[in-house]
């Protein structure tokens, strides 16, 4: 315990000294995030410095082993770091599918070569990754993917098309599910491969969404050469890793409805928008709906906390990621609907500086995708009923 107290003291002092002032306010939108990568243009000198300093300590990936550039922190130390960052509202120095998704998968399933090659650049924010999972014909039925990887001895030749690839047009490398064996049960012939997006034959095309932005792409793969040592885990065993990554992704997306430290809560925003009468929100019907959301959101936060605590204590049933993803994304959609309702016609404005260039309707529209990406709500409910409730 004394060690942890020392760690807290030192962490606090280090953050005080090293976190630039402008990095001490909540991330308001995607534009405030630092994604890193070969082509990243830092939004400010502070953003660059903050990433560099944190990466040097390995605190962009605090719980990864130090030998791969990570922070080597224990669960308790990692928690303290999070708390101390939240205390000064320090922004995450790096938003990264490398840190969140493929890094943990390489750590768990990858060869020593892959760990040495890929993990340190992820920690330093030098390589930006994208995920090649869905295909035009394989959405909810992901295991039905058709992108072919033909065995050419020491390498594969990959042909096919991926869709909903987040930021493929900005990414440096892709982790990609491909079919290495078409002659077995569909889950048993899939491999997870890694390749550079500048490899000949890789092209991307952004997809414009109802929110007006283009965070996703179509990615076309035409005779793309992938070295065999870039297979994560065993050939044909990619589905296990894909499921592991989907679990990660669900937990991540499920967490999006939560209010980050320093952000205004929904009820505070409602007070700003509607005002109080005798200490109560002036619109009684909206008040009931905000309260219902608030109760659910608070109980959901406690549940995410309980699931972690149970895992730490070695209790609990596990298998909760589908529930967290389902409930968290539905909560976020309800939150966005309430924000739209409480701001009335102001929330309908699409362009104009006074309305932050239509931020409200754009984030509302974007939230509709939360219950689709990473497995739809309906797929999550299928997973719960089949895997947990034994209904089939």
């Amino acid at each position: 315990m004394a060690d942890l107290e020392t760690f807290r003291r030192e962490t606090r002092a280090w953050l005080e000294e090293n976190c630039p002032q402008s990095m001490r306010s909540p991330v308001q939108s995607d534009a405030d995030q630092c994604w890193g990568g070969r082509n990243w243009a830092f939004k400010s000198e502070d953003q660059r410095v903050w990433l560099e300093r944190m990466a040097e300590k390995g605190w962009t990936a605090p719980d990864w082993p130090t030998e791969y550039g990570g922070g080597g922190l224990s669960k308790e130390e990692h928690k303290i770091l999070r708390e101390e960052m939240a205390r000064i509202q320090a922004r995450p120095p790096l938003a990264s599918f490398g840190v969140w998704m493929i890094g943990p998968a390489i750590l768990k399933f990858g060869s020593e070569k892959l760990k040495k090659q890929h993990l340190p650049p992820i920690v330093r924010g030098e390589i930006r990754w994208c995920q090649g999972y869905s295909e035009p014909g394989a959405g909810s039925d992901l295991a039905g993917l058709q992108t072919r990887a033909e065995d050419k001895g020491d390498h594969f030749i990959v042909n096919g098309q991926k869709i909903w690839t987040s930021y493929a047009d900005k990414a440096d490398w892709m982790f990609c599910l491909v079919r290495t064996n078409p002659d077995v049960k569909k889950q048993l012939g899939i491999s997870l491969v890694l390749f550079d997006m500048t490899t000949p034959g890789v092209t991307t095309r952004p997809i414009k969404l109802i929110s007006g932005s283009s965070p996703f792409c179509e990615t076309f793969l035409e005779n793309v050469r992938v070295e065999k040592d870039q297979v994560v885990g065993e050939i044909d065993q990619g589905w296990t890793i894909a499921k592991y990554l989907l679990t990660h992704e669900r937990e991540m997306i499920g967490g999006m409805g939560r209010t980050a430290a320093g952000q205004k809560t929904l009820s505070e925003l409602a007070v700003d928008a509607l005002g109080l009468e005798d200490g109560r929100l002036a619109d009684s019907m909206l008040r009931s709906e905000v309260a219902r959301w608030d109760l659910d959101a608070r109980a959901f936060e406690l549940t995410a906390e309980r699931v972690l605590d149970e895992a730490k204590a070695g209790q609990g049933v596990g298998n909760t990621s589908a529930m967290l993803k389902y409930y968290g994304t539905e909560l976020n959609k309800r939150r966005q609907e309430l924000l739209m309702a409480m701001h009335g016609s102001d929330a309908m404005v699409w362009e104009g500086e006074d309305w932050r260039e239509g931020a409200l309707p754009r984030q509302w529209l974007r939230s509709k995708g939360n219950s689709i990406e990473g497995g739809t709500s309906e797929i999550q409910l299928n997973v719960i009923s089949r895997n947990i409730l034994g209904l089939r």
Binding site: S267, R280, L281, A299, K312, A313, M323, S385
Partner: protein
């Protein structure tokens, strides 16, 4: 801080309570009490066994004959009692009576009452509500100073176990208007005292609540619980304690209804397949599963907040009760619907869970009451 998990001792208590209620007070025991029109409404033998197991003294300090296991412990007991629809004076006596005396009583009252509650020799009941929808400050019952003592007049409803309680704890108004927080006085009144009349009412869940009328009942000065006129503060705290345990009971009811329903979906066949293979039912079941997970977290948090003296306890309790009411209502309604025609029969137990859930929801405030209180506590 251990986090939102049970420690080993609490886990052991939960296991013991689970075995005890399933074995000694299962749903069939409630049916027997109902069908035999039992005058007490619960089994005194069961109560003695609960005393022996130390369950009754869970909230009472060890020095006064209890186990001092705290609210997390009592919540686990309430949850298991909820799963089995076990009828007993657990709430009226071991929760409400024990907590109120401990919070507001003077030393001699504690010495006289708490060991007697823990050893099962004394039953208590809280006479609070006067309106069918919970409104704890709406008290018209007069508790007027009369020499050293008080004179009590008025009418109380929904007095849980009022027909068997040895001691009634009555909230009367000494000054002010109905709905004022000031001026409430808590009085200990013998059920047999002159001027007290008790009318037993059998409720939809086959349990008991009483209508109690006080007609110029003389209450001596030493039967005032706490400071005259200052009863609102301990009452509020006791209502938070009780609501956390009611939420725990609702969690037990919701889980048991749900598990029985899932089992039925796995067994019942139509169109040549089990009805659990239909996605229309699967998704409703999976949604309900998620909601119950949320209730588990909210209930444990409220119970821990009570034990830790967390300043946000009222907010946590209203969160737990509101969410537990909402989900128990959904779970019992879905339970009956998914059992189809069988759900409408008295022969199947599922209807008994529906019938128990509603009075527990109503007692000391339902979803609406606690959602409103939660919002007010959160500043809107």
């Amino acid at each position: 801080m251990a986090g939102l998990v049970l420690n080993d001792e609490q886990q052991m208590l939960k296991d013991a309570a689970q075995r005890f209620f399933a074995d000694r007070a299962p749903v069939s025991a409630l049916r027997r009490l109902r069908d035999e029109r039992d005058a007490t409404g619960f089994s005194r033998e069961l109560w003695s066994e609960m005393v022996e197991m130390g369950l009754v003294g869970t909230l009472i300090d060890e020095a006064l004959g209890g186990t001092g296991f705290g609210n997390v412990g009592m919540g686990l007991i309430a949850e298991e009692a909820g799963r089995n629809l076990s009828a007993s004076p657990l709430l009226s006596t071991a929760v409400l009576g024990a907590s109120l005396v401990q919070l507001a009583g003077n030393d001699s009252q504690k010495q006289a009452l708490l060991p007697a509650i823990a050893d099962g020799s004394r039953l208590t009941a809280l006479a609070l509500d006067e309106r069918p929808r919970h409104a704890p400050r709406h008290i018209e019952t007069r508790a007027e100073q009369n020499g050293d003592g008080f004179t009590l007049s008025g009418r109380k409803i929904n007095v849980i176990d009022g027909h068997v309680a040895d001691t009634l704890i009555v909230a009367g108004r000494s000054t002010g208007q109905p709905d004022d927080s000031e001026g409430l006085t808590l009085l200990l009144v013998d059920r047999d005292a002159a001027g007290v009349s008790v009318q037993r009412t059998i409720m939809v869940d086959s349990r008991n609540a009483a209508i109690v009328t006080f007609d110029n009942v003389h209450v001596p000065a030493d039967a005032v619980l706490g400071t005259p006129g200052k009863g609102w503060k301990p009452l509020q705290r006791v209502l938070d304690i009780a609501n956390a345990h009611l939420a725990a009971e609702l969690l037990g009811i919701a889980q048991e209804s749900f598990e029985r329903t899932v089992k039925y979906l796995q067994e019942r066949k139509q169109f040549g397949v089990t009805i659990g293979s239909f996605q229309g039912l699967q998704h409703r079941a999976a949604h309900l599963f998620s909601e119950i997970e949320l209730v588990k977290s909210a209930v444990l948090k409220a119970l821990q907040a009570l034990d830790d003296g967390d300043e946000r306890t009222p907010e946590m309790v209203s969160l737990a009760k509101a969410k537990a009411c909402e989900v128990a209502e959904l779970a019992t309604n879905e339970g009956v619907q998914m059992h189809g025609g069988m759900g409408m029969t008295d022969e199947f137990d599922i209807g008994l869970f529906l019938k128990r859930a509603r009075p527990v929801q109503q007692l000391f405030g339902d979803y609406r009451y606690h959602a409103d209180r939660f919002a007010a506590l959160r500043g809107y």
